[in-house]
């Protein structure tokens, strides 16, 4: 092993969000990826760049973590207002909207979902990530209509998996969006899914890898290592893994250690538990890190900025 590892690969770039100049209505366009070294090391091309932070919201908060509902109060019932606060109050870089309400109602309701997406696009100027309900029977038409609602906005659509990727890929291709490709904590499965997507015509600069992130204490270390391995393989020249990575540990705020915490400590425990999966994911190379607690955004941003700063006082920008 040498002092400096020899890398031959570069992580591909993906553009998220479109401003007026690019045919959309977002206030910013992010360019993620582009790295040529291990995360935050000097050879990494875009100097001082920190990962983007996405705040996750949903249109059906019943199943959302109680600590978040406590924090956001009435906002939880108003998806558009929640998205606006994500930008204005909490300072997220991206909003990730989960359209989960169809699941409980067991009806796809594509028109309703389209309206929700439109209202969120109107409420925030940030680039968006749009997720279905994880129920393929419900989501296929929802993806089409939501893709249509966000045509030209360069959304990131989620989530494609090995056994269901066609409808989401079709929606992304038809309306110019990117897709999240999720595989269960396995570098080979991640690679296979990327190949499947490529074979049906999804360009590599439209794919973001989601290796699936387990909560701290519940398998997180496997996810951490898969993220490190993906970055390593990509830098060693494996182009089927040379895409940016998105990480979310959706169970962070509902683990036993949070539920059972004394009421006075619960919020701090929740924030800290979420932080300890989100920040290590950034250290492992995730380009987008997702959180659910609104107060996690600043905490994570400060930490990532300190990590991206080589010397004291150099500001770290979000991707772009």
């Amino acid at each position: 092993m040498a002092e400096q590892e020899e890398w031959t690969g570069t992580i591909g770039r993906v553009l998220l969000g479109a401003t007026r100049g690019d045919g959309g209505t977002r206030s910013v366009q992010y360019c993620i990826g582009g790295s040529r070294d291990l995360p935050f090391l000097p050879g990494e091309a875009p100097c001082g760049k920190r990962p983007l932070i996405a705040l996750e919201i949903c249109d059906d908060p019943v199943l959302w973590p109680p600590v978040v509902r406590e924090q956001v109060g009435d906002l939880a019932g108003d998806t558009a207002a929640w998205a606006r606060e994500a930008e204005k109050t909490y300072g997220a870089d991206l909003v990730r909207l989960h359209l989960t309400s169809t699941h409980r109602r067991q009806t796809p309701d594509p028109d309703g979902m389209k309206k929700t997406v439109e209202s969120v696009l109107a409420a925030t100027t940030l680039p968006l990530i749009i997720e279905g309900s994880s129920d393929p029977a419900l989501d296929s038409e929802v993806f089409q209509r939501c893709g249509e609602a966000g045509a030209g906005e360069r959304l990131l659509l989620g989530t494609a998996e090995a056994d269901r990727y066609r409808s989401i890929a079709a929606a992304a291709l038809a309306y110019g969006h990117a897709v999240i490709a999720q595989s269960p904590i396995d570098i080979n499965l991640a690679k296979q899914l990327n190949i499947l997507l490529r074979e049906i015509g999804v360009p590599v600069d439209r794919i973001v890898i989601d290796p699936y992130t387990g909560a701290l204490g519940y398998g997180f270390e496997y996810s951490y290592s898969v993220m490190e391995r993906i970055r390593y393989a990509a830098l060693k020249g494996d182009t089927d893994l040379a895409m940016p990575v998105i990480s979310a540990a959706p169970d962070s705020l509902t683990v036993r250690e949070v539920r059972d915490a004394a009421p006075a400590d619960r919020q701090e425990r929740a924030l800290s538990w979420e932080f300890h999966a989100a920040f290590p994911a950034a250290v492992a190379g995730a380009d987008i890190v997702c959180v659910r607690h609104p107060l996690s955004v600043k905490r994570l941003r400060d930490a990532c900025s300190a990590l991206a700063a080589r010397q004291k006082g150099t500001p770290a920008q979000g991707g772009g």
Partner: protein
């Protein structure tokens, strides 16, 4: 650079006299190459050859032990840059910081926490490893007194932080025989600090900013005869720590800079960024870290991250689906369904075994996902449960048709009853509550 066994063999006397305890010189060479023998044990080597062999066969990162007794901990001996390449070896020691400006009561309170506070988690006791006492007053007397207060409270590893050799000497007079970590030798004071470290046989941290300066200073201290060194790269930002500690680990593993082949220290007390610093240190090669006495609400996550990252990654994440027996189940004993995520399985198994319950576990194939995730994603559904019951011939084993579903799978219960024709009981969400649930509910169930 590391020597291969054959290169080492060429340097040996080839007497095959067995005095080293090995049958032949070649065996001895092989043991030396893998770091399992000491060049000293062959009486026929000249001094120069001995030194050469020692340098070439020492572990790339030396082991350093801090403290004595039950709570002492060892660091170093790491062999990889990425945990997935093999495994990380020694979890970093985390020490709570106190200042000699604090009152006796305040110091005692922190020391008592270090002594008593434990967090049991999946079969291990998570705890902070020791205490660091800092000479903020500048006064040797105050420093010595603060150390005495800690000493009176309990026996656990200590670290002494002082720039002045006079203060350090006063503190070592209190605890020098218990292998405290001395912090730190610098460009200005290293002569005096090295003498103290040697006098007490205590490990010594050397502080210099950046890998080059550290290499020089560590080399100087090693040449002065201090064996147990710890490196403090003295970073200004988290980013600088990451860059320097990665470089140190790489150079050490490549054996291209033996002066950097020591464990690394990180001061994680950065205001507002402490949990980030602790996380980064855990992930990226810190071996000893100092933090303020954090609230348990956010300390437990740090300790859990350390536990996660220092788990052997070769442990499989997925279990083979099928029927597993817990205890000695006989026909009529409970049947619990769970997923093939190994952590779920081992957690459940732990609780069942500790309450001496005999039962059958049906592990269904959710590709290693937890119950929560498998239900949300549809990987756990009524059809695959029906197919698993048939495929594994479950009824022939259990002699009944009652299935306990995990609490998080409650939404599926109706559909599972319909699809399988089995009676379904919904268990608790937490594995910890399963034994009590079985006590209460199984006896009443028709299968019981």
């Amino acid at each position: 650079m590391a020597l291969k066994a054959l290169d080492i063999y060429k340097l040996l006397p080839k007497k095959n006299c067995k005095e080293c305890g090995f049958p032949t010189c070649l065996t001895f060479a092989m043991k030396l190459a893998s770091g399992k023998a000491d060049a000293e044990t062959c009486p026929y080597l000249d001094e120069a050859t001995k030194q050469l062999l020692k340098g070439a066969t020492r572990p790339p990162i030396l082991r350093v032990k801090i403290g004595v007794g039950e709570r002492s901990f060892a660091v170093g001996e790491e062999i990889v840059l990425f945990r997935h390449d093999k495994s990380f070896v020694h979890p970093p020691g985390i020490l709570f910081l106190v200042s000699d400006r604090q009152t006796t009561d305040e110091i005692r309170r922190v020391a008592t926490r270090v002594k008593d506070e434990v967090f049991p988690r999946v079969g291990e006791l998570l705890r902070v490893n020791g205490i660091a006492i800092r000479n903020d007053s500048g006064s040797p007397e105050a420093f010595g007194k603060a150390v005495r207060v800690v000493e009176e409270t309990a026996e656990f590893p200590e670290m002494l932080i002082a720039g002045s050799p006079a203060s350090m000497e006063a503190a070592l007079a209190e605890c020098g025989n218990y292998r405290p970590l001395i912090h730190a030798a610098t460009a200005e004071n290293h002569g005096a600090m090295c003498s103290l470290a040697k006098r007490y046989g205590a490990p010594l941290a050397v502080r210099a900013r950046g890998a080059d300066a550290l290499r020089n200073l560590a080399g100087t201290c090693a040449a002065a005869g201090v064996q147990d060194l710890v490196l403090d790269p003295f970073p200004e930002t988290l980013g600088e720590f990451l860059i320097t500690s990665t470089l140190i680990r790489r150079l050490a593993l490549a054996r291209s800079a033996p002066e950097l082949g020591y464990p690394v220290y990180l001061d994680a007390t950065a205001p507002g960024l402490e949990e980030a610093a602790l996380s980064l240190g855990i992930l990226k090669y810190a071996a000893v870290m100092v933090t303020t006495p954090r609230n348990p609400a956010s300390l437990l996550p740090s300790l859990t991250l350390r536990q996660n990252i220092y788990t052997d990654p070769q442990k499989p994440i997925q279990m083979t689906p099928g029927i597993y027996r817990v205890g000695n189940p006989t026909r009529g004993d409970p049947l619990l369904l769970t997923v093939n995520f190994s952590l779920t399985y081992f957690t459940l198994l732990g609780y069942l075994e500790s309450s001496r319950i005999s039962c059958f576990l049906l592990l269904v194939d959710t590709e290693g996902f937890s119950v929560l995730t498998a239900v949300a994603s549809g990987k756990l559904n009524e059809n695959m449960i029906r197919d698993s019951l048939q495929r594994f011939g479950v009824e022939a084993e259990t002699g009944h048709r009652t299935l306990v579903l995990p609490g998080y799978a409650a939404p599926l219960s109706g559909r599972v009853e319909e699809a399988t024709g089995w009676k379904v009981l919904v268990g608790p969400r937490d594995a910890a509550e399963v034994p009590e649930f079985l006590e209460q509910s199984w006896k009443k169930a028709p299968g019981g």
